[in-house]
Amino acid sequence: MIALVQVFKITVKEYAAYRLNFVLWRLRMFLNLLVNFFLWTAILDTRTQFGQYTKDSIISYILYANLIATFVLGSRTAEIGYHIQDGSIINLLLKPVSFFKYYFARDIADKLINLSFAVCELLVVVWIFKAPLVAPHTISVFTVFFINGVLISFFVNLMLSFIGFWTPEIWAPRFLFTVLVFFLSGSYFPLNLLPDFLYYFLLATPFPYLFYLPAQALIGHIDPGLVFFQIAFSFFWVFALYKLTVSLWKTGNKQFSFWGR
């Protein structure tokens, strides 16, 4: 545990060492938030309702989804692929600490630093542009979805990096995943605005569990008839992705070889 705390601290210090990089990264994220926020403000300029959402609830959804996405998707696992490619992953494998726990500690540090900035950005939007923000609802349901979302994201990110065991083209699948996540997880709009068949199909995939359902819980739009099914499915995805990640890790390790280290 002490080792993991140290890993956490080192990751935070890495960010402190490359402050400008991080600030520029957050600026980019803030610009993306602004586009989405203003787009929805414009759509709701002359109306108070959109589908089953009021103006306040949909703007709150966009803001909360952005905040949750910052935490859930924040990850340092992308570097693993490069460590596999240049062989430096050996250094990590030799350390007396679990690989998965090591990266989870790094991810948590990444998530918390990003979250602290994202909260400030959200407050700027609320304060300067008078964005309506409904008070958080159903915290208990949110917590379950949120923790499972973090785990799902962690395992998927690990698997995307493990592709490096088999091919040097590790960046392209991650790019595709990022594109899919931003649309299928409800970054641009709440997914239940989609036609029913598409919405129910998406509920069977891991995407809505990343930040759509946690954000829905916070604005109080959880469907009571579906919530148990959704919670069960989120646990299913955590378990299935965990098993798949471990299996990929073991297979990759078995055939991994590198010269010169």
Binding site: L20, V35, I43, L176, V179
Partner: protein, 263 residues
């Protein structure tokens, strides 16, 4: 003079051929990137269709008009990526000292560091963008004058895009920071994906007069929809010329102070 053009064109052709060969080295990467980019555009289309399924107008624009803005943004953005992809690879050249070798060669450095890495993946994407855009124009019965004006203003936008990329290169020489600057440029220009009217002041003013994203991404669409006054079009032409001149001055300034970072 003519000889220089032919020499530059030949070098550009050779660099582009190399860029194509490099691209084709990673077949899986090509497929995933293309797929990702196509999906991203299709998803935004779907999102806009979803919105306009429930509302007729957004800030006074109908679905077709918003699509014209979105497609125009995509055309300008993609053309910029096709031509100036090499800017994304400039930082390693500066920090490794490899830029010295570029400067020593008897060709203008822009041929190597600005135009030297044509992105052929984006060529595949820009063709359908043009087709869809002109299909919408045909449906809207746009006059040939407006069509000419649109193409002229696309070229004008490309002058601005060039100015921004030259500034990023100059900033790269001065500070060695390129990677985030180019991505911030991309995110800033993405603010022009939709009409600037959707933003509130002071954001709208900032992206029209301070960083002219609106002039770069919106004016061609505004002109073809008959929403831009002649004075505003003239203003955008002057701004793009001014931006290009400023970027070239910045480039000269950065180059004079360049002391070779790496090596």
């Amino acid at each position: 003079m003519m000889k220089t053009y032919i020499k530059n064109a030949t070098i550009f052709y050779l660099l582009s051929r190399n860029a194509l060969k490099i691209t084709l080295q990673g077949r899986m990467g090509v497929i995933f990137f293309l797929l990702g980019k196509i999906i991203r555009v299709l998803f935004i289309f779907a999102f806009l269709a979803l919105v306009f399924n429930r509302t007729r107008l957004v800030k006074g624009y109908n679905f077709e008009q918003i699509l014209v803005f979105f497609l125009t943004f995509n055309i300008i953005d993609t053309l910029g990526q096709i031509l100036y992809r090499q800017v994304y690879r400039f930082r390693p050249l500066v920090v490794s000292g490899g830029f010295d070798m570029v400067l020593l060669k008897p060709i203008h450095p822009f041929i190597r560091i600005l135009l030297g890495g044509v992105d052929f993946l984006d060529v595949l994407l820009v063709i359908p963008y043009f087709f869809v855009t002109f299909f919408i124009f045909a449906k809207m019965e746009i006059s040939s004058f407006h069509m000419f004006l649109y193409l002229l203003l696309i070229i004008n936008s490309m002058v601005m895009v060039t100015g921004f990329h030259i500034s990023i290169l100059a900033l790269g020489i001065a500070t060695t920071e390129v990677d985030h600057t180019i991505m911030i440029y991309r995110d800033l220009s993405a603010m022009g994906r939709f009409p600037m009217n959707i933003y509130k002041e002071p954001v709208r003013g900032f992206f029209t007069y301070i960083i002219p994203v609106s002039l770069m991404m919106n004016v061609p669409a505004q002109a073809i929809l008959g929403l831009a006054t002649p004075w505003f079009i003239l203003f955008s032409l002057l701004i793009s010329l001014g931006l290009l001149c400023l970027s070239l001055l910045f480039w000269d300034y950065a180059l004079k102070r360049y002391q070779s970072w790496g090596g």
